[in-house]
Symmetry: C2
Subunit: 343 residues, 2 copies
DNA sequence: TTGTATGCGTTATCAT
DNA sequence: ATGATAACGCATACAA
């Protein structure tokens, strides 16, 4: 029941190994008649080339590395699902690593992947300035790197993410349309996605002639523990709510922040959406199980993974990278309005 | 910047390739002095053996296959995280596949993994009777298979899952303690985990002298679409609620069912926990963001993945599998009581 | 204790 | 159009 090899096929066909190899690789040197015979026998025995031998010979691994912050996270696992599909279709393997939003772990992930001889790396950076020099060095000298998800990062390469600006712009616009005027916005400190998402919010206010109040912009530090983050966010929020000019809506710029703030609010006397309308980035199916159901900005996470992986695989096969200029692909988000922003 | 090979090291050390190889593999044939020299140089140049050459030679791939129903699912992705850690620690790779709860896809996943020459396969079966004969055949003749998560499946092998019985027993007991007597239970049709989880529920009722009402046992068909499933579950539930003897609590035996029923209830006039207390299997952090926060039976998903992977790796390295009898490891669940079951 | 030679399953170069 | 042979990097049986 052991694997069939070229040698086996050659013996059965009474041909040489190299003829069989060339036949299966559709070489112009082999006659159609022979190719047909070879293919038929290979098919019959379900011949599968030994990837280890092949890769050893070719010097490629047909493997790409993917570095994500956390895999047990709805967006990330959906991205991974898309990446998985693309890899499968191209006969590639994936080695995935988790940076846990930590620069040092991130670097060791990259080093590990390089040692694994991957043909390329996809990374969603731990932060806007994590390992910039090192990543640049790897990209230029060792193996191609492309960015996904968190694409606001100083590296010239392919980037696949979402149009953050439009997502928060539309969400903010919606809040204004239902009559909310004091919109608090939750941002990730040092997170690459923050600036564009904040810009969308600011532009929407500006376009609707609402003055901007810096107090309504709340930054949360992802480097702290969940408990610490929740505690600080709650404090900040409660301070605002007690002011004369209390907010009447909340916009979450990341999945994490959007879902956590709901838990925080449920512990307080403020109700959603009566006191505070809530909308934000969130990719969880659970949004509709929440009470009230949560209005969300949904990212095409699967597509991000799928497209990015295809890009990387193609890039890793280019002889000369300068032939193909780098692209930034920003997919559009979709807004799902539910009860948390009901008028 | 290309990789350093044994040949390079040998040249620098003025030794033969085989001496260096043996030295690095700590062979008894090599003197300590030489070993030391070899190791130092290898360390200095960060030598990493080429896995493709090594595997080609050894005939092992150092790769295991993992088949899960869906990866973008909290429990599954947490299991995968544990598996990932174990694999990393043992210098193994993971190729993961998704069966999408479908027997046919499941079979093709197995075939794919066999073609990849994996050293073993971990599987969470699509259903209780999916591909039984084929899986048995693979396990006995091709590559070892172990079961995780959904371990109620007719195959003699290592199994790593949770103690389903105790989980639902305790949850049911809790519902009784807070005074609920008419507990509806949501089950997955044809799902391996169902029987034990249902048994836990039944035993708890029995121990508390509550008579069993078959009408309160609701089966949901995982082969239908989400919309269809939701529709049918809602209908069933509403029918019960209109009866004289309406249920006053719901127990969900899977993550999917527990979270979905919340969404369904929020569309009705019935409130949680006043009309219906809700508790069930669920591994999502979001449980506390829900309103009311959801009481859950939590599975040690990370541990399941970690332990199962270690088991499989060890099993794949046994010369004679019969030396080591198969084990069934059932980890305990934990119950987190929150507002959805408040008295 | 160290070195030489062989082969794992491919692909590719060079005959024939 | 087909076949013999070398090489990829490694481990190992055997020779020295």
């Amino acid at each position: 029941m052991s694997k069939i090899t070229l040698k086996d096929l050659a013996k059965m066909l009474k041909m040489s190994i190299s003829t069989v190899s060339k036949g299966l690789n559709d070489s112009y040197e082999i006659s159609e008649a022979t190719k047909k015979k070879i293919r038929q026998l290979a098919e019959k025995h379900n011949y599968q080339p030994n990837l280890f031998a092949k890769n050893l010979k070719i010097g490629k691994t047909n493997t790409i590395g993917i570095i994500i912050p956390f895999m047990a996270n709805p967006v990330q696992s959906q991205i991974l699902e898309g990446a998985h599909k693309a890899a499968l279709e191209n006969n590639y393997h994936i080695v995935f690593m988790q940076s846990r939003d930590n620069n040092i772990i991130e670097k060791s992930c990259i080093e590990f992947l390089i040692n694994q001889n991957v043909d390329g790396i996809m990374i969603s950076p731990a932060s806007q300035e994590s390992n910039v020099e090192y990543i640049k060095h790897v990209h230029e000298n060792i193996t191609p790197i492309i960015l996904f998800d968190r694409v606001e990062y100083p590296l010239e390469t392919h980037k696949v993410g979402v149009n953050s600006f439009v997502g928060t712009y539309n969400a903010t616009k919606h809040l204004l349309e239902i009559g909310r005027k004091r919109i608090a916005v939750l941002c990730g400190k040092n997170l690459g996605v923050t600036s564009e998402r904040l810009n969308g919010y600011l532009k929407a206010l500006e376009d609707n002639s609402i003055s901007i109040d810096q107090d309504l912009i709340i930054y949360c530090d992802y480097n702290k523990t969940k408990e610490q983050m929740d505690y600080e966010l709650k404090k900040e929020l409660m301070k605002l709510m007690k002011q004369e000019n209390a907010p009447d809506a909340i916009l979450g710029t990341t999945d994490t922040l959007t879902t956590r703030v709901l838990g925080i609010l449920s512990e307080t006397k403020y109700s959603v959406p009566e006191d505070l309308a809530v909308i934000g980035f969130a990719n969880t199916e659970l949004a509709q199980s929440l009470n009230p159901s949560l209005s969300t900005i949904k990212q095409p996470a699967f597509d991000i993974g799928y497209i990015a992986t295809n890009k990387l695989i193609r890039l890793s096969n280019e002889k000369d990278r300068s032939d193909f200029p780098y692209e930034s692909i920003l997919l559009e988000t979709t807004i799902q309005l539910r009860n948390s922003t009901k008028i």
